[in-house]
């Protein structure tokens, strides 16, 4: 059954977390898959240079990659040279697309980015070039965890900032700081995704308390089992997509776009 093309999405969605090990990259990968399955033309950039694992979450073998986002940042290639088209037949039949710009696993490329001065202006230029080359509706940026110059630059560009957090005291505090900064930058939309929640807690209650505390919408509360299911969902069928753990997040993004 063909899926009708969805409404216009916000163009830049930055996926961020204050702490590491929140499942941010898994959620970014799952969301990219789901958006493409619903007929969006999606680009996803792995800006988490120091933890370059997004490509593996999307089933890409690092050995086959000649260029990565690192090389683009260092001026060694165009961003389109580093792009990998992962569009699968079913998504293409619904006008969807999925294009990945991975971060490099190669130690010289990681060292290069850390060692060299980087002009952060090319971050925005690269997103625009990628969107133009592949006629993208939406670009997801997997930002580095924590607050550094790359994550702040990503935040400044975001139409939607999706902050992933766990139910953890340090994460509560860090998320609060991140939200304050994003509000100071007048980031148009801030959403929270709670991940790895203890299944004994009631998701509705977690959502209510988070929304009350942070004043942001919390479209999804995922358990570790949800997260694993999302990773296995991959190229989901229409029925599976409806039950996808991130389906509520997709709905929230559409509401923000409309």
């Amino acid at each position: 059954m063909p899926v009708a093309r969805t409404s216009k999405m916000p163009s830049k969605i930055v996926v961020h977390s204050f702490m590491r090990e929140t499942g941010k990259t898994n959620i970014a990968a799952g969301l990219a898959h789901l958006l493409a399955a619903y007929g969006e033309r999606v680009g996803i950039i792995d800006a988490d240079i120091s933890v370059p694992v997004l490509h593996s979450r999307l089933g890409v073998d690092a050995k086959g990659l000649n260029y990565a986002f690192n090389h683009y940042l260092m001026g060694g290639c165009a961003i389109t040279d580093a792009a990998v088209d992962l569009t699968w037949d079913d998504a293409a039949s619904h006008a969807g697309a999925l294009v990945l710009v991975p971060a490099s696993m190669d130690h010289a490329a990681i060292r290069g980015v850390l060692h060299q001065d980087i002009d952060v202006r090319i971050l925005n230029a690269g997103i625009e070039d990628l969107a133009t080359a592949y006629s993208l509706d939406v670009v997801l940026i997997n930002a580095p965890a924590g607050l550094d110059e790359i994550s702040l630059s990503c935040m400044a560009l975001a139409d939607v900032l999706l902050i992933v957090l766990r139910l953890d005291k340090e994460d509560y505090h860090g998320t609060s700081v991140t939200i304050d900064l994003a509000r100071n930058l007048k980031t148009p939309n801030i959403l929270l995704a709670v991940n790895r929640a203890d299944p004994e807690y009631e998701p509705f209650e977690i959502r209510r308390r988070m929304e009350e505390t942070y004043g942001c919408a919390v479209p999804v509360v995922l358990s570790a089992a949800d997260e694993a299911a999302m990773l296995f969902a991959g190229h989901a069928t229409v029925q599976e997509r409806l039950a996808h753990p991130l389906a509520a997040l997709l709905q929230a993004l559409h509401q923000k776009a409309s």
Binding site: R111, L114, H115, Q116, D117, I118, D119, V120, R121, N124, E149, I150, L152, S153, M155, A156, L157, L181, N184, L185, K186
Partner: protein
């Protein structure tokens, strides 16, 4: 003090930098912070639009831009102003963009 004077006072007191970081931009108060963020997102602005974003008059905007330029937060780029009637370049009009500092590389031992 009126709005213009407050912004001029703020930019006159800001420390000189060799290019602005997002953290520097965050340290400004509104409306300067949001105007600079807008320029990071959407690109350079001519002084009249810079004035509109700050909601100050043109003279005040020129002073603010000049102070930011001197202190390393903005840089001036020029756009040709083409007179469409005779297609000649009439003048060079200043356009300001945020002088974003590069992410500074760190020395890393070769054997790492």
């Amino acid at each position: 003090m009126n709005r213009s004077q407050l912004i001029i006072q703020e930019v006159s007191r800001c420390p000189a930098v060799d290019g602005a970081t997002m953290a520097d931009i965050l340290a400004f108060s509104e409306p300067l912070r949001l105007t600079l963020k807008h320029m990071v997102r959407n690109g350079p602005l001519p002084v009249d639009q810079f004035a509109e974003h700050l909601e100050v008059d043109l003279d005040a905007a020129r002073i603010i831009a000049q102070r930011l330029l001197e202190n390393g937060y903005l840089e001036k780029v020029y756009a040709d102003q083409i007179d469409e009637t005779n297609e000649t370049v009439q003048a060079y009009s200043p356009i300001y963009r945020v002088a974003l500092a590069p992410l500074r590389g760190r020395p890393i031992p070769d054997d790492l």
